[in-house]
């Protein structure tokens, strides 16, 4: 009898608590979806590609260190759980896009630089050898 009562109480508690937990999860998951969407839209891949191209590893380092910032607008009327999850996800996704593009820019920059150097070298060599 006591066991039956314990099970009933346990079930009642689970039924009462579940919606609260579900709401917290909902808030966090919608924050993550929104942050993911906004970070992808707001982070300029071309800018960081250019930084990687021009400044090489320094550009990649800057892309990793500089954290993108979300707008206060999107946090208006949101719960603390949402604000924490959104901010963290936005920074993480934004930084990942920045670093990936800067790294691509760095590799492309290095390849282009090498090609220019090789072409320049052969032009100089052929010019020198033809002079003699």
């Amino acid at each position: 009898m006591a066991l039956k009562r314990s099970i009933v109480i346990l079930l009642a508690v689970v039924l009462l608590v579940t919606p609260i937990l579900m709401n917290a999860d909902d808030s966090t998951s919608s924050a993550i979806i929104a942050a993911d969407r906004d970070a992808k839209a707001n982070t300029s891949g071309a800018l960081w590609f250019g930084a990687g191209c021009l400044f090489g590893l320094l550009g990649v380092g800057a892309a990793y260190i500089i954290e993108p910032s979300p707008s206060a607008q999107v946090l208006l009327g949101k719960s603390p759980e949402y604000v924490a999850a959104y901010t963290s996800e936005y920074k993480s996704i934004g930084r990942s896009i920045q670093t990936k593009n800067a790294l691509t820019g760095c590799v492309v920059g290095a390849v282009v630089e090498s090609i220019v150097y090789v072409v320049y070298y052969f032009v100089v060599v052929s010019a020198v050898s033809s002079a003699y």
């Binding site: 992808k40 206060a72 607008q73």
Partner: protein
Amino acid sequence: MLNLSFLLIAAFTGLFTQINISKTENDTIKGRFYMNPPASYFMHVSYPINQVLFSKSDTTYIYYPKRKEGFKFTSNYTNTTDVSKGLMPVFKDEYLTKLGMILVKSDYKKGKLIKYYSPSDSKSPLKFIKIVYKNHLIRKIEIINRDDKVIKRSVYGNYEKIDKKNIPMSIVNYSSTGKDSIVSEIKYDSLNFIENIPDSVQNYRIPKNIKLKEMKW
């Protein structure tokens, strides 16, 4: 994000209702805001959650009085909201020139004056800011990127005369974010100019015993 508030002459306050619609979420936010040039704003959200959001120079605070928790964000700029900054262009349309935008073209079609501004910085991702006026009032502002894509459109409506100034009581913002788009409608009510922000707002302090979560923006 640029701080445009220095262009305003007087402080103002009002009630707002913001409705956000996107594929992932629909929500309604209600509250009161205070805008105090040059660089501070204060918003008290009453629905759906009791939230206070305000800035002090380069720091933005978000505080939940009932839950006694909050955030402190520091950044290199004033991070403001559409509710407060949305009204700025209406006060002085030359603000774009002061921010380094150049008027490159203007057309007059069917009773509408259309002005195109371009950034003086050639590296800017923006191509144009297009402003549409009708009867000397701003009706629409579009931000157009280098791919000729409108990334944000704001439509101004329901103008009312407040202190001899024409103020739009409704602004609808359309933002394109990749595959998704967000529509937010801001409706203002009881908007008025005030000489000074009330002391309770001006000197608002989060209780010292509240430990704020600090983040760098």
